[in-house]
């Protein structure tokens, strides 16, 4: 673990140069989204359709989606850069650090980024009055888990791909998930075969769990089920990332 911390420290050193910009957008984005989607769009969504105000419905969904987005971005270009542009992974591998330390160190950094972004988002959600239970605090670790479920396989993909694959990744995977994983409307409104696609995504599990937490309605079985599913993605993703990193860097 201590070797992974050294790699984590590199990412923090890089982040120190840019953190102001990311914090500004992490504060501005939730305010804009919550105002437009929650308050604006919510004013024309009939309450009896969902049983709760639309703002209360959409806010936890956005929270989980932010975890996914931040993690996806931070595990795509930065990983490709550390291999191809500044080649920092090669620098690390000339030292005692091992391939597994590179993967772990980077995921620690992604977790930090998600933690900060989601915490700020949660503060905004609270300010908008969409938090109805102290359980909502658990949304932060849940979103970190959602982030890792995306970051681990995507960092593997970034290491493995010869060509840059991020445009199709964001266009055909991340954005559709953002729109259709229960963030803005219940997945039950999607026709059956496609609905299962939504259930398979880690995001839906994060969204549903966060929604129960902010509304104060979590149940043990539901919570454990979602957490186990997300954790399975993380474990599989870390394995994929380690194989891909090794294939790329140790030749």
């Amino acid at each position: 673990m201590s070797y992974a911390l050294r790699s984590y420290e590199y990412w923090l050193t890089v982040y120190r140069r840019v953190w102001r910009g990311t914090v500004a957008s992490s504060v501005l984005n939730p305010v804009l989204y919550l105002a437009a989607m929650g308050v604006g769009l919510g004013s024309i969504v009939q309450k009896n359709q969902l049983g709760i105000p639309y703002l209360d419905y959409v806010a936890p969904g956005l929270l989980a989606a932010v975890g996914m987005q931040v993690a996806s971005i931070e595990s795509s270009f930065p990983v490709r850069g550390a291999i191809r542009w500044n080649r920092q992974y090669y620098a690390m591998l000339a030292t005692p650090l091992r391939v597994g330390d590179l993967v772990t160190g980077h995921l620690m950094y992604v977790s930090t980024r998600v933690f900060v972004a989601v915490s700020l988002y949660l503060a905004a959600v609270t300010a908008f009055g969409a938090v109805h239970s102290p359980f909502a605090l658990f949304c932060v670790p849940v979103c970190v888990l959602v982030g890792l479920a995306f970051a681990a396989p995507i960092s593997g993909l970034s290491a493995w791909a010869e060509e840059e694959v991020f445009n199709p990744l964001f266009r055909f995977a991340v954005t559709p998930m953002f729109l259709f994983s229960g963030t803005f409307f219940p997945v039950e409104r999607i026709p059956v075969p496609l609905r299962w696609l939504a259930y398979v995504t880690p995001l839906w599990h994060g969204v549903d769990l966060c929604r129960h937490l902010t509304l104060g309605t979590p149940t043990p079985l539901n919570t454990v089920g979602h957490l186990a599913y997300l954790l399975a993605w993380v474990v599989a993703g870390v394995w994929i990332a380690r194989v891909a990193y090794r294939k790329r860097l140790v030749t």
Partner: protein
């Protein structure tokens, strides 16, 4: 001579069907400056990457600092200083930050790594640039920073993969000067190069590699003595050089090499040969020089080092 820092027997590296390193044997002793000389694609960098424990050998035996690079790579790397062929600096960070973060990879405390960074920047003459970003630095400065970085863990063995490729002559001399000082301090250097002047200046002992194999081994002087004559007469011609046999010169010429634009006559007495060569071959110009490793390489492979 103590036990070798690097011990290789039958060392092989294959990439699919392609054999980059084809069963080479060598040992590197403590305090030695050891070189791999050869053209691009000879297998030098693949060998270096195996020594650097980032490329598992496909066959043979390799021991570095007495350890197994596959099982104990991390422990070995903790004691190596690596100057890779392509820079791995972070251009967005400052000179100082690059050094500090690299020292932290080795687990040095912040205070310790700052102290060493100051010393090392002084050693490579970059103290004034400590707080500037790496991006605008010249190629030579980046190389020197990479060398400083490789020294941050006080390595027992320093690996340099083509340390001066791509640098202008002035920058090369500055790098050579620093490496020479390291050598004087007793550091063990292993370097690859396709510049014979670099090998002659820096290496106590070297191997000449070609097509993944070791063609010859020895000190630069030994190799020249053994495999070339004392002097070389270079004759330049306006068009294709004439074809001649060494025998044309009554035993004065040991060997003839024909290059696209010139003839090389290998002889022990260049000055005595010049008037004869002038008269018989009518070259455009004549140059007498000492034999170098380039000539050794030409003799061994029939090709020049830098094409």
């Amino acid at each position: 001579m103590g036990s070798p820092l690097i011990h290789a027997r039958g060392l092989t590296k294959r990439f699919g069907e392609f054999t980059a390193v084809d069963g080479i044997d060598f040992d590197v002793a403590p305090g030695e400056a050891f070189g791999f000389l050869g053209p691009n694609g000879a297998g030098k960098s693949s060998t270096m990457r195996m020594i650097g424990c980032v490329s598992p050998p496909s066959g043979g035996t390799l021991r570095i600092l007495g350890k197994d690079p596959v099982r104990e790579g991390s422990e070995i790397r903790a004691r190596l200083g690596v100057v890779p062929q392509a820079d791995t600096l972070d251009n967005e960070l400052t000179v100082q930050e690059n050094l500090v973060i690299y020292g932290r990879y080795f687990g040095l405390s912040r205070a310790e790594v700052r102290r060493r960074a100051a010393e090392l920047l002084d050693f490579v003459q970059l103290s004034e640039r400590a707080t500037s970003k790496v991006e605008p630095l010249s190629g030579g400065m980046k190389r020197r920073l990479t060398i400083a970085r490789a020294l941050v863990n006080e390595p027992e063995l320093i690996l340099l993969d083509e340390p001066t490729t791509g640098l202008d002559p002035q920058a090369r001399h500055l790098v050579w000067d620093r490496l020479f000082r390291l050598k004087q301090r007793g550091a063990t250097l292993v370097l690859t190069t396709h510049y014979m002047d670099e090998a002659e200046q820096l290496c106590d002992r070297l191997v000449i590699m070609d097509n993944g194999k070791i063609a010859e081994e020895g000190s630069p002087l030994e190799l020249i003595r053994r495999l070339s004559t004392r002097e070389v007469v270079e004759l330049r011609f306006p068009s294709d050089p004439p074809e001649i046999e060494p025998g044309t010169f009554n035993g004065q010429v040991a060997r003839v090499e024909t290059l696209p634009d010139r003839l090389l006559l290998y002889t022990d007495d260049g000055d005595a040969l010049v008037p004869v060569a002038h008269e018989r071959l009518r070259p455009q110009s004549v140059l007498v020089r000492r034999s170098t490793l380039e000539d050794v390489f030409l003799r061994l492979t029939g090709r020049t080092l830098v094409e």
